[in-house]
Each structure stands twice: as structure tokens, then as C-alpha cells.
Symmetry: C2
Subunit: 406 residues, 2 copies
């Protein structure tokens, strides 16, 4: 089985790459700290005797051969990038647990039929470069590599430039890597498993998610002289739009999620009525039809709210990731692995997006969740218990072994 | 009288220092473009035979001697810094018209009893370094120079560093400069003169203004997994606070102005519920008692709004500039100068802050307004008519001559 102490030590060691004062990690995709943790992973691959491949999106694959050279690899993985105020587990856990599973296979001498691989996907978070799950998206054909390369961060650096800068633009064309099946282990990032006291979530799918870019355009004016009736205040209009979005989301039930996470105002001066606002909207629901209805309602109402403030609004959808239903056989392998290793388990739907959501389009896929404290994620205080961490890694290992036998 | 064409040419020439594609100016205090326009003014001083002094806040004074060496100077002036999306007239007009008045006095051979000076005040706008009217504030003792030097811009550069960097930290201690009386010419920046078809405003005072720094503190969380009921969304709370401020301001009548011009969100990621928001509030009213009452109402209600969203709020007053009433004799000199030069005029209260507001605390002071198109200011489209520009400059010249005779 998994060497628990060494997995926990790897989590502690890599947390130093971008570690924050509050005990979290700030390791944005393709930054200096991302390079450090990638280099670290490369060193581990060599120590393990694995073969490292980097593809043209910077995805890292570590390969261990199987007994049958004709079979494509079974792949485990997740991501090593984080949010600006990210925790030590989101993504990282899945990669390091996969590494510990490779080590366990090597150590045991157990010979798998399929090759087994670990993947570290580039820019899963989508925080520096939108959208999320970018490189599994290119891998599976959801976007083109050219689209991804051209994406700019807030400073105008493109993804392509940043990839070159850290030296991780690999030779293998992204998407050419064969995959027999894909398993991703992750913290739940929500409150369900913890609340119910269950260790393993057998993830049956991922809810639908859409991202939007909203722009409000009013008129800059003097804060001291401009009467209220003459104002076309883009920020005040944005405030009305935000509240309206929240109300609409709530009216579609507790499963609806609507979040404005980014807002930029121009010119951004204390004594100037704002002329321009740009803001993001992250919208989610488990049901494709409901998310479409929520979007439609928001479009109509937001335009009306803005108009009432004398402001024009544009709302552009920049990402659409429909609801995903994982492969029933793979999900069943996860349930059995949990049962075999003596862990409590239940089915669960993911509220967060994962590279597995895109991989599910091209190969049999499933995910494994473990609880995290207070359901908190995308927060420096994110926490998972050592016992759950090791339990989840053993479920991953057994799911892969089951897939090999399948 | 004033040489109109040369004044208009100066306005056009200096508009190139920080000129924008939309025909406005972006010349933030103590930036490279501010240095350029200061150097230009120094060259004009030399050409005029005036003596240039720079004080320890970077204020530039150009001195022409009078016939009585015992008398302190009559001072005209305004500022050459702009908003990020500023126009070609705000502040600039007052400085360049003052320059044209000095030239007119030189050319005419008319010998004033008092010395006459022109001043360019540093950082009147308060956009890069808060608050506004910073250097006239230090000059008149409203803040200490140490406070001003320590003020940071959004990048963490202090005012003191920026002043050194552009080479405008002068030897004369700020505030030691004698002033007999102060006159400032400015565009109205509001709609009144234009609407009434009047050329000259005899400014009787400046309304009260207060600036606040608001901070909302909630909890970062995952946008996809965190149920609405568990969220403590600092940006959604900020939206509620902004709307509430607008409603309170409106309830205190049409003379109340409340503006949120700056908002920053942390961590600022599309898929993270915002944990922290910082925003500015600019509050104004002609009456000191009313502005105090509005502030009090906002404090109570804003805390309640934030609490309802599970967010804590702090609201710090960072600037308090009480209502100012200018010197009746000086105001009367402006009315007479308007009458003498054949211009229509009326009394008016300034909605914008001006260096004259602080100067009024230490010496007899008044201001002169001319109309601006659509009352629009702090906007690249800011515009004043050539006829009004020259008329205002002649009123300034005659007011100074009246003060000399007084
Ligand atoms: N797992 C995770 O947090 N991924 C980021 C994409 C998302 O926002 O759901
Ligand atoms: N005149 C002017 O726009 N000054 C800036 C200070 C203020 O906000 O009123």
C-alpha cells in the first residue's frame, strides 16, 4: 500500500514553493514557483526510474512500463498550480498521491499489464489565465492550443510567453498522448463528506459551469460637482447588477452558484465617478437546462439594471463546460476500492471543475474525493486530515489496479 | 490685458505632456509628465525674468517684484497635475492664465506696489496620493509634511520618494512663503454657469468634503462548491453597502454627493468568493452639520448591511475638509473685475475642492469660475470656450490689480 509518511512529507515539502505567511500557497500557473515545483516533480520521476515527457502545453507525464507493450497507459493525476490564496491540497494532493501510488507499485514488484502514468496538468485553476482546466481542455480538444497560447494574464503576458519563460514548452504535441483510463483524486472542496462523516466520495460527475466577462460603460465625472441625476456611474450600476445576480441565483434553488470574483474600475480615482467597470461571473448548476435558464434571466435583468443607471452593459460568455457524467465502470471501481480498503463511501457530484471533467470526454474516467475541513477551499486555511489523505491514496492505488484487471 | 492667443497656445502646448488618445491628459502628480510640465513652467519663468522658487513640497513659485519691497506678494495659482482620465483645463487653466497675467503686467510696464507671484501646487488632485490639495494643505498647516511624505500610491511608492525622483524637492521649507492674498481661477466643473449663460462665477466658498477608506472582510471560498448560506462574500457585501450609501445620500437632498471611485478585491480570482474588499468613499455637502449627519447614518447602516452578509466592515475617515467661506472683500474684487471687464457674473459655491480652500485659512482668498461644457470635468472630454478662457484671465488680472490698490 501507500507509504503514508512519505506522502505527507511530500505535501509539506512542496508547500514551500510559493508558501504564504498564512500557511497556504500562492503558486499561479507558469510563475517562478510553478517552475520550482515542476522541477521537483521531474527529480522525483528520475529517482523512481520513470520516463518524463512534457507536452506542448507544459503537461508533465511520468511513465512506468507495464508487462504488455501494446496497451495504452492508465493515467492518474491532477495539478500543482494554485489560487492566489490557495491551500496545500487542491490539485497537489492528487498529483502527490499519484506519485506515491507509482512508488508503491515499484516497491511492491507487482507487475501491471498496462503502463501506469502520472500527469501534472498545466493551469487547472484558471486564475492567472482563464479559463480553468485549460491544458486538459486542449488535450481533449475543447479549445485549440492557439487559443490557449494567446490568452493573456492581467499584465498582458500571454500563456505562450509564460510557458516559454519557465522552460516548459515540451516537444510532444498536446493531445497525442494515449490514455486507457483516467483517475483523479482530490479533496471535496465542499462540506458534504465531512458533515456526513464519510471518508470517500465516488464522484459520479461534475456540474455545469460557465464563465462570463461583464463590461459596464458609463461616464467619468467629477465626484464633487456632478449632481446625482447627471451621473452615469458604472460602479453603482455594477453594484445593482451584482445584487440582482445573487437574487436570481437564489431564486433557482440552493444548487445554483453565482460568484463575482474579479472587479476592475476605471479610472479608479477617489474623486471621479467611475466610467468603466469590468467584472467576472462564475455560474454553476448540476443541470445544463437550469444553468441555461439562469444565464438567460441574468442577461435580461442585468441589461435592465444597467440601463436604469444610464449605463450600457455587455455580457460575454467566455467559457462553457457542460455537466459531465463519469464512466459507470470506473465509478464502480472507486466504490469497490473504498470497500476493499475498509473505507466508508458515498456517491457525490463535484461542484468544482477538474481536469477529469475534460478527460471524461475522451476516455473512461472517474474521481475520488476525501473530506476537507469546513468544506473550505480556495483559501489558505484549506485542510485535510492525515488519515483521510492516506486512505484516499490507497483507494486510488486500488482503483488503478482494478482498472488494470478490467 | 491678457494676450488671448498666447494663453490658448500655452494650453495646447502643455496638453502634450501626458496627452491621451481621447484628447485629455493623464499627468498624475510627481510622474514623468508632471516633471516635464514643471520644467516647461520653469523655462517660462526665466523667459519672463521672474524668480523661481521650489519649496520642500515641490510647489513652484514665480516672483515678479513690486515697487514696495516691504510688502508680501499677491499670489495667483492652481495646479498642473491631472486625474488619470483628466481634461486640459482642470487646474492647468488657472496656472497658465496666471502666467499670462504676469506677462501682461510685465509687458504693460504697469508697476504694482506688491510683488506678484504665480504658484503651481503639487498634487492637488489626490488621485495618485490621497488626499487632494495635499501641498496647499501642508503649506497652511492642515497636515504635516511628514504625513504627506509618507503617503503611498497604489504601488507603494511614497510621495517623498516620488518627489526626490523627479528632482522637485526644493530647499525652501513649505509654508514659509509670505502671501498677502490668494486668487485662483478655474473652470466650474459643474453645470450652473453654462446653464444660466453666465461667464464669471464669483466663488463665495467651497463645500465640505470628507474621504473614507472602507474595508470589508469576509472569507475566501470556492465559487463552485460553497453554498450561498455558507458564504461570507466581501464583494457582495460591498455592493449592498454602495447601494445603501447612494440611497442615504439621495435622502439628504440634491446637494449631497457620495461617490465610490476606487474598489480593490482580494484575491481577485474568477472562481474564488472574495475575502477582502477595499473601497474609497468621497462625501460632500455645502453644510458641515449635514455632512456629519450623513456620515453618521452611513456608519450605522453600512455596518448593518455588511453584518447581514457575514462580513465585518471598518470605515476610516482619512480626510476632512470643512466648508470654506472666502474673504468677502476678495469676492467683491472678483465681482467688480467681472463688471469692469464687461462680463456677466453671479455668486457660486464650489462643489470641487481647490487649493484656495486651504489658502482661505491663512490669507484673504477668492476664486473665479468660468463655465465648462456640460458641466463635465475629471473626464477627457472636458472643454471650455476660448472666449470664456480669455475673459476669465482678464478678470483674474483685474482682481489682482484691485487687491494691489486695496
Ligand atoms: N478544483 C478546482 O478548484 N478547480 C478550479 C476550477 C473551478 O473553479 O472549479
Ligand atoms: N478641482 C478639483 O477637481 N480638485 C480635485 C479635488 C476634488 O476632488 O474636488
Amino acid at each position: 500500500g501507500i507509504d503514508g509518511p512519505s506522502l505527507l512529507a511530500d505535501i509539506a515539502e512542496t508547500a514551500a514553493f510559493g508558501g504564504t505567511a498564512k500557511g497556504g500557497i500562492c503558486r499561479l500557473a507558469l510563475g517562478a514557483e510553478d517552475r520550482q515545483v515542476r522541477d521537483w516533480l521531474g527529480t522525483q520521476a528520475a529517482a523512481l526510474g520513470g520516463v518524463l515527457t512534457v507536452d506542448s502545453m507544459g503537461n508533465q507525464f511520468i511513465h512506468l512500463p507495464g508487462s504488455d507493450p501494446a496497451l495504452p497507459p492508465l493515467v492518474m493525476g491532477s495539478h500543482l498550480d494554485t489560487q492566489p490564496t490557495g491551500g496545500k491540497y487542491d490539485g497537489i494532493y492528487g498529483v502527490l498521491a499519484g506519485l506515491s501510488a507509482l512508488r508503491a507499485l515499484q516497491r511492491s514488484g507487482y507487475r501491471m499489464r498496462h503502463p501506469v502514468e502520472l500527469v501534472n496538468w498545466t493551469n487547472e485553476e484558471g486564475s492567472r489565465f482563464a479559463p480553468a482546466m485549460m491544458s486538459s481542455g486542449v488535450f481533449t480538444g475543447a479549445f485549440t492550443q492557439a487559443q490557449a497560447y494567446g490568452t493573456q494574464d492581467a499584465r498582458g503576458t500571454t500563456f505562450g510567453q509564460a510557458l516559454e519563460e519557465i522552460g516548459y514548452r515540451g516537444a510532444e504535441p498536446c493531445g497525442q498522448h494515449p490514455v486507457r483510463a483516467y483517475f483523479e483524486l482530490h479533496i471535496e472542496q465542499g462540506p458534504i463528506l465531512e458533515k456526513e462523516g464519510i471518508t470517500i466520495g465516488a464522484v459520479t460527475g461534475v456540474q455545469a459551469m460557465r464563465w462570463f466577462d461583464l463590461r459596464l460603460s458609463g461616464q467619468e465625472a467629477h465626484a464633487g460637482t456632478t449632481p446625482r441625476a447627471m451621473r452615469r456611474d458604472a460602479l453603482l450600476a455594477a453594484a445593482h447588477v451584482m445584487i440582482m445576480i445573487d437574487e436570481i441565483a437564489q431564486s433557482y434553488g440552493a444548487d445554483t452558484r453565482a460568484t463575482v470574483g474579479v472587479i476592475q474600475v476605471q479610472p479608479g480615482s477617489t474623486n471621479v465617478v467611475p466610467g468603466e467597470v469590468q467584472m467576472s461571473l462564475d455560474l454553476r448548476h448540476p443541470d445544463d437546462d437550469v444553468i441555461a435558464a439562469v444565464e438567460e434571466r441574468i442577461r435580461t435583468e442585468a441589461a435592465r439594471q444597467a440601463e436604469q443607471q444610464g449605463v450600457t452593459l455587455s455580457m460575454k460568455r467566455i467559457w462553457d463546460s457542460p455537466a459531465v457524467h463519469f464512466d459507470p465502470d470506473c465509478v464502480e471501481m472507486v466504490r469497490r476500492a473504498a470497500s476493499l480498503t475498509g473505507q466508508s463511501y458515498r456517491d457525490i457530484v463535484s461542484g468544482a471543475g477538474h481536469d477529469a471533467a475534460y478527460m471524461g470526454h475522451i476516455c473512461p474516467t472517474a474521481m475520488i474525493f476525501i473530506p476537507c475541513r469546513d468544506g473550505l477551499s480556495h483559501n489558505e486555511a484549506e485542510h485535510a486530515e492525515a488519515g483521510d489523505i492516506v486512505a484516499g491514496a490507497n483507494v486510488l492505488l486500488h482503483a488503478i489496479m482494478a482498472a488494470d484487471a478490467h
